[in-house]
Symmetry: C2
Subunit: 313 residues, 2 copies
């Protein structure tokens, strides 16, 4: 386990419950976690103590696979991923920008792929979004289409039902001016929307000429932002082929919705939406077996057979 | 192209439109089709003449892959599949019982796998149902679940909007007595519901102790059957873990619906349902590329990365 924040702890708890998984070690860079029993951090039975030094922990534990959940931005987590590659440990990471890094981080993607191959390991970025509801699921649904003309992706999350950390992350409670200032400052908003669109475009054989993303406050009745409205529009020439909207706001009617215009058309809805944190832990842990069987290198969800949940006993 | 009935012609028309596919030959066992231009049968531009002798056609054309659509029951189409295996041609087949043959046809499945490996070819049974809406899609959705307790699968088809052949196939217009007599005679009703359940159970790691299927008439206002209601219930011990219903009836409200009870729960609906024949042709043709890249042997949809549609140019 590499990373023991909210998501990493969820992953750790699920891994600790899975019969086929033996936890070989746990790493987090937070100094205050070093030396603490993992069982205490996860609040359930789990072996060993948390360590700060990933390279040392990997050398000692020699895990087959690392479940990595430390950050959204690839440049930030790159050294951690390289440490895993050089230790020859396969990686499933929640890093949003790793889910399809070939556009935003061309050179880093090449470096990661080369190092992964050199380490004879496989590296995958996934999760529920990006990784599932706005990309893999749309790709899978396209399998029933002879031709796809246009894809509309919608994810609505009611942040009032989610972690306070997420509520802050989407700007709930900010004034519209504060929201806009933060948006202008960068590193704000949902990470991975473009990655989802790029992955989908690759799957459908579309070369996008443009992919424009916008981040706006979603105003509440009190005039404050109740969250964010983030859109991406992908075009081939003047033709819009992908329209994606992530609406994360307090009180929004949660759902996932995918509409493929094509032959035949497909319109899918998941009522209430796929629950964020629980599902992210699920996708990451469920992916482990498939990643162990995959070819070495940097891969995406397009390379893997279905990641499956586990039926209860 | 092997099989030029309604589904086979749909597959042929899609294949003829795909840039990456070159049609190397067309076979149908119907004597009246022999020697007819394929273009005439498909009603679009396509090369060559239809042949009756599959072995001869395969020996001449040496196709990389056969798109096979001749029948629902594995024992019937087995000689055709073996002919393909011995010619070393990969196969994507619409044969419903081939989609998961390991339970209903244990020995035939072993034989097919052995012959496929010997021929260094890959063999897949797929389509929209079985193959997608009541199995693969549920499996893919389970990827967001930490644990799955129960799966409910529902497919409703309004046969009034479909081929007359399908309306007859589901018993629309029969008296209730006629329907029951036909049901008792076997080879009636949707083929593949058990196969879908078995594939899903394998994906979730469930060993079903029982899987009971029932076929009943769906009565209309006039007292005649307007179609069929087919159910399957899979149990582990006394616990019901899979409930599947295929309702195919004139005037039914078409939809596909999958409900996973688990952590988190997932409830997906495709309004109007995935259109049957168009989608079957799509799945089969879209699967071709993935099957060419797959390991030799008899495989299922669980072995393949996502089958994807093609974005329009």
């Amino acid at each position: 386990l590499f990373g023991l924040g909210a998501i990493g702890r969820g992953i750790g708890r699920l891994a600790a419950q899975r019969q086929e998984i033996e936890i070989a070690g746990a790493v987090d860079i937070a100094p205050e976690l070093a030396g603490r029993p993992l069982a205490e951090v996860l609040e359930m039975e789990a072996p060993g103590l948390v360590e700060n030094d990933a390279a040392a922990a990997l050398a000692r534990a020699k895990p087959a696979l690392v479940l990595h959940a430390t950050g959204s931005y690839l440049p930030d987590v790159l050294p951690q991923l390289l440490t895993c590659a050089r230790a020859g440990a396969n990686v499933v990471s929640t890093c949003e920008e790793l889910s399809y890094p070939y556009k935003r981080h061309v050179e880093l993607a090449k470096q990661l792929d080369a190092e992964a191959r050199a380490g004879n390991m496989t590296m995958l970025g996934t999760g529920v979004n990006p990784g599932f509801v706005m990309d893999t699921l749309a790709v899978v649904l396209s399998g029933v289409c002879q031709e796809v003309e246009h894809v509309r992706l919608l994810r609505v999350v009611d942040v009032a039902t989610r972690r306070e950390q997420l509520q802050r992350k989407v700007g709930a409670g900010l004034t519209i001016e504060e929201f806009k200032a933060r948006a202008a400052g960068g590193r704000f908003g949902h990470v991975g929307l473009q990655e989802s669109c790029w992955l989908l475009a690759e799957a459908l054989g579309w070369r996008l000429d443009s992919l424009e993303e916008r981040l706006e406050p979603e105003p509440g009745a009190d005039g404050l932002a109740r969250g964010q409205r983030q859109t991406a529009v992908g075009k081939i020439g003047e033709r819009t082929v992908i329209e994606a909207l992530v609406l994360m706001a307090a009180g929004a009617e949660a759902r996932d919705d995918i509409e493929l215009r094509g032959r035949p058309p497909v319109h899918m809805t998941i009522e209430g939406g796929v629950a964020g944190d629980t599902a992210t832990a699920a996708v990451v842990v469920n992916a482990a077996r498939r990643v162990l069987d995959a070819r070495p290198g940097l891969i995406t969800m397009l390379d893997l057979p279905p990641i499956t949940g586990v039926g209860s006993r």
